[in-house]
């Protein structure tokens, strides 16, 4: 920490003093008043430039005299302003959407064309509202998670899986933030939809590596999603009516344009998969996004945002099942002066899972909730140096499970698992610095602290071993509990702290190409307990503590970036290597649900991932799209350690469940004319690792399968083609109502991609057979989208 500050002082004093003035302000969209994140603000014919921050704020300093300020943002017309600079200047800038170049840009994987080559930040993918709208929506609505899955380094376990995997990371290793609030489950209906309603989303950034120091708590990636602020110029309504779900969003100015709000709702038709069954079954979801903001004055702005989403599943009178995220955030933007921007956030988020099993007369609930305070500063020291610093604290409450009998005759007793508490804190500072014309660096340090708080008892095991290898039977078993230690609420069960250095460098080879390299060390104190082939909504989060250590990761990456043919095409090639220490895996037959002694089911292991990613994009013209290919490997190794024995799979490296050797995506969009545009996606992936039987035997009148070592086989290759067409009926220029029809076909050639293959006996013939679950065949959809 000290080192960094010393360095900063050194830097700031080494800059030659010169008469300079600061220009600062907010960049917004002219029609909606939405602030724009990542807009480029620079002084023409100089290297002085900056990108707007999350709240549209910029600050640059320029020498005295005439200067020409150019502000640009993808999909928007440039604004050029010339003025005589002889005092510090506040300048709010409005950009107009570039309507003549519809569909021009689908996605940008860097901040903006002018800056991407030279900025040290690498391995980041960014989508803005404008570009989101243009991504083909084969399932009837734009889904941001489905879109990022088409990019290199991002995969999931196929249809019917919750969450996503980044560069060989597990689902729980992604920090997913919606307006800074942690989202614990990103999927509706087991992954058929994401929890993000694109009508309410302004932009998102996915950091696959080179995670900036202001983020902490997860080792694999950060998905930073920001909600719209709401239109501050006029009332606006938008929505869509589709065959699978429908949506409606309303936004309007408040207090004479001093503020605005947005309310967006979305719901699926309750009985989504009902048709083939009788009326007793139902699956569905809904969600609601809310946000309001109010400018107290030029230097102070308040934001209040919230999200509530819920999934429901009903199975006659026997089961009812519901789960969802709830989050809220109150923010205060304060501009101390034209060089120092700050944001203070108070955040709450919760994920809970409820299950009622009427036939067994009990209810089950589990949840995780956190309160979070964050204070972030950005100090625009000078043209060459920007400093980010801040601190955050999170208080967690875990309810791993609680069972309530629902009738007097229930055979189940009331039971509550130990409630867990934890406190996580972090302070950070990072510097973005332009060392020379061609060379930029971003370096930072985060210090994180984690305290597993008392208020529960913790088991003490014989010989301190929660898991014991049974030498005779060759299996891992839960250890014997000797006694329990009670920890009072003000006592600490365990605490950890870690220094997490982050470094990124960029060297501009010439105007159109650059090389970058990055290193990041990250610590993760929470773990999602899951030993099923796919993560499920039922899975429970658990904090690090006496037995489960924090995951620690190092990631190294290098990349080459080039724009060619007059910026018509761009190429990005990145290579990465990542290792994670203390990655837990589960002993065979581990029972994780309703278990107070999770430590008796796990072994501490490690994981490693490496890969090569290619992304070739065409971002301009009637035809746009990209070609993405990833070659990668993800493995785990879990030794017996203190428990004894060789470990899982005899202590050898084995494939992680989300290892995909080849991952290819091709996405294209063709803008035929004002009325018609077409889109297509093609995906081809190595099948995911699975465990197949290698023998059978008869026991208790049943054929019992014996299995190979964990994850040593693979599902068949996954591939699919989607197409979509968008039709915009005749526009009447004076009519505010604008509508469009979107026709989509998912999985055009109706390939039955295996989500799973299970082995068992046919109930009629008793013959062994392999059963494939292929969740989606061909799915056509029609949606009518409108806004006015």
């Amino acid at each position: 920490m000290k080192k960094i500050f010393l360095l900063i002082i050194f830097i700031s004093t080494s800059i030659v003093a010169q008469q300079r003035y600061t220009i600062s302000g907010i960049v917004t969209d002219a029609s909606s008043g939405e602030t724009l994140y990542g807009a480029s603000v620079f002084i023409e014919n100089t290297t002085i430039g900056v990108l707007t921050n999350e709240y549209g704020f910029y600050s640059i300093s320029a020498p005295k005299g005439t200067c020409t300020l150019v502000v640009s943002y993808l999909g928007y017309a440039n604004v050029v302003q010339q003025f005589d600079l002889n005092t510090d200047k506040k300048l709010a800038i409005e950009l107009k959407e570039n309507s003549t170049q519809l569909n021009e840009v689908l996605i940008t994987s860097s901040d903006s064309e002018e800056m991407s080559i030279s900025k040290p930040q690498m391995s980041v993918l960014k989508l803005s509202a404008a570009t989101l709208k243009q991504v083909s929506s084969v399932m009837g609505e734009v889904d941001i998670l489905k879109t990022i899955l088409l990019l290199p380094g991002v995969t999931n376990n196929g249809e019917g899986s919750t969450g996503f995997n980044v560069r060989g990371g597990a689902v729980d290793q992604n920090l997913v933030l919606l307006d800074e609030a942690i989202i614990y489950n990103t999927s509706h209906v087991f992954g058929f939809f994401s929890v993000f309603n694109s009508d309410a989303i302004k932009d998102l950034k996915l950091y696959k590596g080179g995670i900036p120091a202001r983020f902490g708590g997860r080792v694999s990636s950060v998905l930073d999603v920001r909600q719209k602020d709401g239109n501050s110029k006029q009332f606006k309504m938008s929505g869509g009516i589709g065959t699978i779900s429908s949506r409606l969003a309303i936004e309007a100015p408040l207090f004479n344009g001093q503020g605005s709000f947005i309310v967006a709702g979305r719901a699926s038709y309750v009985n989504l998969f009902l048709d083939a069954f009788n009326k007793d079954y139902g699956v569905g979801f809904y969600d609601l996004n809310l946000k309001g903001n109010y400018s107290l004055n030029d230097n102070n702005k308040l934001f209040l945002s919230g999200y509530f989403g819920r999934d429901n599943m009903v199975f006659s009178d026997s089961f009812n099942n519901s789960y969802g995220n709830l989050s809220g955030n109150l923010r205060w933007n304060h501009i101390f002066n034209d060089k120092l921007f700050s944001n203070l956030s108070l955040i709450y988020s919760k994920y809970d899972y409820e299950l009622g099993i009427d036939i067994f007369e009990f209810d089950w609930i589990s949840s995780i909730e956190n309160f979070n305070v964050k204070y972030d500063f950005r100090y625009y020291i000078n043209d060459a140096v920007k400093l980010n610093f801040g601190a955050s604290s999170i208080s967690y409450n875990f309810n791993p499970g609680e069972i309530f009998p629902t009738s007097g005759t229930s055979s189940v007793n009331y039971f509550k698992l130990d409630q867990k508490r934890a406190f996580e804190s972090g302070v950070y500072a990072s510097v973005e610095q332009k060392i020379s014309q061609n060379f930029s660096v971003e370096y930072g340090l985060r210090w994180s602290y984690f305290n597993r708080q008392g208020g529960q008892s913790v088991a003490n095991y014989v010989n301190g071993m929660p898991v014991v290898y049974n030498e005779k039977l060759g299996i891992y078993e839960t250890g014997e509990i000797e006694s329990e230690t009670d920890y009072a609420k003000d006592e600490s069960i365990a605490n950890y702290n870690n220094f997490e250095p982050r470094l990124a460098v960029a060297y501009e080879l010439n105007n159109s190409s650059s090389v970058k390299a990055g290193y990041s060390r990250t610590a993760q104190y929470l773990h999602l307990l899951s030993n099923t082939t796919n993560v499920t909504p039922l899975d429970v989060w658990t904090p690090s503590g006496k037995f489960i250590k924090p995951q620690l990761s190092n990631q190294y990456s290098v990349g080459y970036y080039k724009n060619f043919k007059g910026e018509l095409f761009s190429l990005e090639v990145e290579a990465y290597y990542k290792d994670v220490a203390n990655r837990i895996d589960y002993i065979d037959g581990a029972d994780l649900i309703g278990n107070n002694y999770i430590e008796g089911e796990i072994l501490n292991g490690q994981s490693r991932a490496y890969g090569l990613e290619f992304l070739l994009r065409k971002t301009v013209g009637k035809f746009t799209g990209w070609f993405a290919y990833t070659l990668s490997k993800t493995e785990q190794k879990t030794l017996g350690g203190k428990a004894g024995g060789l470990g899982i799979n005899d202590g050898n490296w084995y494939n992680s469940s989300y290892d995909r050797v080849h991952d290819l995506s091709i996405t294209g969009s063709f803008n035929l004319n004002e009325k018609w545009s077409f889109g297509t996606n093609f995906v081809f992936q190595t099948g995911r690792p699975v465990t197949y039987p290698n023998a059978q035997y008869v026991y208790e009148g049943l054929s019992i399968a014996s299995y190979t070592p964990r994850n040593s086989n693979r599902l068949p290759v996954y591939n699919r083609l989607d197409i979509s067409a968008t039709y915009v009926p005749n526009k009447k220029p004076d009519n505010r109502w604008k509508g469009e029809w979107v026709f989509g076909i998912y999985n055009v050639y109706n390939r039955k991609n295996a989500a799973a293959i299970s082995f068992g006996q046919n109930l009629e013939s008793s013959v062994n057979e392999a059963t494939r679950t292929a969740i989606f065949g061909i799915v056509p959809s029609v949606t009518y989208n409108f806004n006015f």
């Binding site: 065979d588 023998a695 059978q696 026991y699 019992i704 299995y707 295996a754 679950t773």
Partner: protein
């Protein structure tokens, strides 16, 4: 308990069953190993002297002739307190029998099998069971309101950790149905287990057997039941089941199956 909770996932899987089909898959083939089905079950109210142990070899997964019987092995059980030895005679059909077994509750026994010059051993304790209180039938309960189910009630002894295996067999249904039960969340309560099938008709006979089992065997049978009944994208990653029959000559080639000793409460039931 966790199994009940997993039903919620299973339910979703049920919704997806229209998306399943049977496919051809190439699976690896392991070297055949000895399979020991040494289930010494002492039915309440009997002497428990007649016992059978079955030996076979494992086969490739899609082999239709599942039972590859083993003859010529020597099989014996020893009472670990009295050192009384019970020799099981080879019936040359994979079965090894004795008429002189003496079951004692909570008594530890050892099994020894010699086959192909390899010696396999196992040790287990004979676990007691409570009698079944009551058996009834119903139609409008359970998962399906139109299907018959048989309800089995028994009372778990309080303050003791108990594990049960319950087995239903019926001529109507080809495969036996097994359920593993722990009293972790139901200690001391009267427990109700039901077995339902759309195929049941009035007049069908169902045989019910409630076994008292050891914790070690519970861990084994729980995984066995889970792996032979689950499937789909939300199932646990399967693993090779490891029983308690150890090959002392070649530890890398332990036998499949289990040496268990239980008390069993059996009730036949006919749907009315």
């Amino acid at each position: 308990m966790s199994k009940l909770l997993k039903y919620s996932l299973l339910l979703f899987y049920v919704l997806l069953t229209s998306c399943t089909d049977v496919v051809d898959v190439d699976v690896p083939m392991a070297t055949p190993k000895l399979v020991v089905e040494a289930s010494i079950d002492w039915e309440l109210g009997t002497m428990g002297n007649r016992q059978t142990i079955y030996l076979s070899l494992s086969t490739s997964y899609f082999e239709n002739n599942k039972q590859n019987i083993v003859t010529g092995a020597s099989v014996k059980i020893t009472n670990n307190s009295t050192n009384q030895v019970f020799v099981f005679e080879d019936q040359n059909n994979g079965a090894y029998t004795t008429n002189s077994f003496r079951p004692v509750v909570n008594q530890s026994y050892s099994l020894e099998i010699i086959y192909n010059n390899d010696i396999y051993t196992a040790t287990e304790t004979l676990m007691p069971v409570v009698p079944i209180d009551f058996v009834s039938q119903s139609k409008n309960q359970g998962f399906n309101k139109d299907a018959l189910e048989v309800n089995v009630l028994f009372t778990d002894p309080a303050q003791i950790e108990n594990f049960y295996l319950i087995k239903f067999t019926s001529e109507r249904i080809l495969l036996p149905a097994l359920f593993d039960i722990s009293d972790e969340f139901t200690d001391g309560n009267q427990m109700n287990v039901f077995y339902e099938s759309e195929d049941f008709e009035v007049g069908d006979a169902v045989n019910i057997a409630l076994y008292g089992i050891s914790k070690q065997y519970y861990n084994y049978i729980r995984l066995l039941i889970e792996q032979s009944s689950e499937g789909g994208p939300f199932s646990t990653i399967p693993a090779q089941l490891k029983g308690n029959c150890i090959n002392t000559t070649n530890p890398a080639a332990n036998a499949f199956g289990y040496f268990r000793l239980t008390q069993v409460s059996k009730v036949p039931y006919v749907f009315k």
